[in-house]
Symmetry: C2
Subunit: 163 residues, 2 copies
């Protein structure tokens, strides 16, 4: 069974090198532009009222995956699905970003954390009733915070990019 996905657009960001991508979107204030192909532009109607949107995209520059990965600042390998690491069996990235404005088929966003030229697969509205769980427990991210004696918090840690 196989499902073929075709990009509906491209995401422009200031990041051209994997090592330069920011920590993650909650910290990033980087501006980006989501350029949706003309053929899909009509589907962007009504999006402006949302302050946040969910972008699904392809980690098209990720390397082959491994089922255990050792991340920045962590002391041991973790199960891949317990991380946001980009190399995955289906390398789909997910970022929640601020929607600043729309000009025709271009969305101006804040909080970009993906590489420039990233192929866009889908846009969904962010709805706190479905998507916001501020009290959720975060397993090894928390442990990692506790273990790090330099006082870094999970906000300092990099879920996406290898280091």
């Amino acid at each position: 069974m196989e499902f073929n996905m075709r990009p509906i657009g491209v995401i422009h960001t200031p990041f051209t090198d994997k090592r330069e991508t920011p920590i993650q979107p909650a910290r990033s204030q980087a501006a980006g532009q989501v350029e949706v192909l003309e053929a899909y532009a009509d589907g962007l109607a009504d999006l402006e009222g949302f302050s946040h949107i969910i972008l699904l995209y392809v980690f098209n520059r990720a390397e082959e995956y491994a089922l255990r990965v050792k991340l920045f600042l962590d002391d041991q390998p973790r199960g891949l699905f317990a991380t946001r690491y980009p190399s995955r069996p289906n390398p789909i990235g997910l970022s929640i970003v601020r929607l600043v404005s729309r000009r025709e088929n271009t969305l101006h966003i804040l909080g970009a954390d993906m590489l420039d030229g990233t192929p866009l697969l889908d846009i969904k509205p962010y709805v706190p009733d479905f998507d916001a769980h501020p009290e959720a427990a975060t397993g090894w991210y928390d442990h990692r915070r506790a273990d790090n004696q330099d006082g870094r918090t999970p906000k300092d840690l990099q879920p996406h990019t290898p280091l």
Copy 2:
């Protein structure tokens, strides 16, 4: 440009008919089982500490998409990307569910809102620092709430399933 996605497992839920799926995961208490293929089981390590996980899957029973859709209880068509409607150019579904437990390659979840037999593409840990934006504005969802004189809130509304 095309990206081929292959399921890494299947999601079992009580829902076999599109019309029976619950309002959405924030309301659903339905139990489900995420059965990950043996080949990927090792990637589930360390997931147990997370109370919530993000499931990405294929809306494999969705019909052909349209760029404007009229949803349940709404009075006018909306841009597709301003909805969570299942028929999309790339029919990828996203649900945030509670992780109850793991037994080997099976995750027991609460808050299932997808159909039984849904092909699983990816599992990501839910991390509030990146993913929780409780104050996000929700555009037409809010307007729709205000407009509905029967007092239904957005929680009563169905983002996924057509009616």
